[in-house]
Amino acid sequence: MLAISEVKKAYGAFDLGPIDLTVGTEVLSVLGPSGCGKTTLLSAIAGVVDPDAGTVTLNGTDLAGRSPEERGTVLVFQDGALFPHMTARENVAYAAASIDRVEELAATLEVGDVLDQRAATLSGGERQRVALARSLAADPDALLLDEPLANLDAPIKRRLRDELRPLLSSLSIPVLYVTHDQHEATAIGDRLAVMADGAIQQCNTPGEVFAHPATPFVASFTGSTNLFRARVAGTDENPTLEWADHELDAPDHESEVGETIEFCIRPEYVVVENGARERPNVLDGRVRRVVFEGDDYLVDVAPESTDDTIQVTLSPPVYDRLELADGERVRLSLPSDAIHVIGAGE
């Protein structure tokens, strides 16, 4: 188990932490925008940067004062950080206890046929595979991956990501996986920590983080684009929100009647209704813009009587059936169990 407690690091104007995280024998994704401190956190754990405060313990051992090579934590870098004066084989052998282990890892990561090439001649995907083989060769007690797929083309990224998940799980060690890509973070992590401005905003299962973001930042960064301000109109038995002149049924939440809160609903959960009957959580609006994203349609709808815009994600087969045009009137339903109240909106 990797336990990070109260770790802080100041870099000029930027402050990381205090960070508290506990990683069991699982893959914990750390998701955050560039410059949020993800890499600094990994560096502090690996010992290549000295934290200003806080402790890192791995399997019960306090790592304070230990050199990077004495920690059992192995880093995997964005570009692989392969030693350019060595072949792929020499890179893996650099960390491996035996030649057999090199061959075994090369087989696992499917790089057997590029082992005798120099690092510079490898493709991006091969480079990362060799880098992973090399890091596994060091027999890590904890693996720290820093955006390992960030520079790969989409299809290779997708493939390697799908291979990585079972591989990382099979290691049965704490794995920290840092990325700025929400798809990667959710696909690879058993749990997901969202970071912003040097602080962990939320840490939970990916499903929970996506469904119930703890802060407006998490909501927005995980693509919960519908984030609105409303007034609490009812609680307990009858939790409702007053948003413009709509009254929305909402799941139970902790705010008081009369309080102004923010609520969000993921654009995948908004439903375009066919029925004409008036129901709770149903509202009328006009299509303001349709964006085709290739595998999705994003439809922005301006509801009557508010200035907010609701975004709806429609899968292409659904959109093909509806054929929404700009300016067209639509009726939207916001399912009450998809509504999530974030808390007091400042």
Partner: protein
């Protein structure tokens, strides 16, 4: 529309910068090259061979080779760790240290010789002590080495620093996190990758030490090194007397250039 007319003006007022650069630069290159070609044309090869057998020339050559080799070794041993520290440290006073290292590079050689004499000259405490022990630091091989080291050693520091900076720090971090200590990391990652740059620095130190004149002439006119032999021969026998020794030095310089442009990584490339 203003931009459009601006465009045409630039086009009409067009002035071929490439040609200008190549003409001016060509004149400069010619100025560097012509004298050397002229030197080779001036010296009959028989005179050269005769000179190479002259005991004074042989003695100067061996003095230069020995002193330059020792100076280069000293500069490397003392300078390379400093170069690594300068490349990797984030200390505030790093730039002050760098300024001290650059100082001998901007100091006139005669002044370098003079300031050295204030420390190692026979009237200075250290120099006097050395004379008393029978190993004087002036007019001796030791003096030549001291002068050459002072003047030439900064090259291995600044070039080595650039070479170490060229090694991505991430690679060192990767090596350490893979369980290898500082020493293994230095030996197997940092030094192999910095080697061409370090070799360039060592080559420059050697070339500078071989050619050192201004400081050496102040600190140790004797035993004569080759640059001093050139001067001496020029005073005695004019150009014709100095040519053969000069040609040997030119060959050494060209060899250094070849090293810089092949196995070493030319710091100016």
């Amino acid at each position: 529309m203003a931009t459009r007319s601006d465009r045409s003006r630039t086009a009409i007022g067009g002035f071929d910068w490439l040609t200008v650069a190549l003409v001016l630069g060509g004149v400069l290159c010619l100025y560097y090259l012509a004298p050397l070609v002229s030197l080779f044309l001036s010296v009959p090869s028989t005179a050269l061979l005769d000179a190479l057998g002259d005991p004074a020339v042989v003695s100067a050559a061996s003095t230069s080779l020995v002193s330059a080799s020792v100076s280069t070794a000293l500069a490397t041993v003392f300078g390379l760790p400093l170069a690594y520290w300068l490349a990797r440290s984030e200390a505030r006073w790093k730039n002050a240290v760098l300024a001290i290292v650059v100082l001998p590079l901007v100091l006139p050689p005669t002044v370098s010789g003079l300031v050295l004499l204030t420390v190692i000259g026979p009237n200075a405490p250290i120099g006097a002590f050395a004379v008393a022990t029978g190993m004087p630091l002036t007019r001796s091989l030791a003096g030549i080495v001291l002068a050459q080291t002072f003047v030439a050693s900064p090259f291995v520091v600044v070039t080595g620093k650039a070479a170490f900076e060229g090694v991505d720090r991430t690679l060192e971090h990767a090596s350490r996190s893979l369980g290898k200590g500082r020493w293994t990391t230095a030996r197997r990652v940092t030094l192999p990758l910095a080697a061409p740059g370090i070799l360039a620095g060592v080559t420059l130190v050697f070339a500078r030490a071989m050619g050192e004149f201004g400081a050496t002439v102040m600190v140790a006119y004797y035993p004569q090194t080759m640059p001093i032999e050139v001067w001496d021969a020029f005073l005695e026998g004019g150009l014709d007397g100095a040519y053969p020794v000069a040609i040997v030095l030119v060959v050494v310089s060209i060899a250094a250039l070849v090293v810089l442009n092949t196995v070493a990584s030319n710091p100016w490339e």
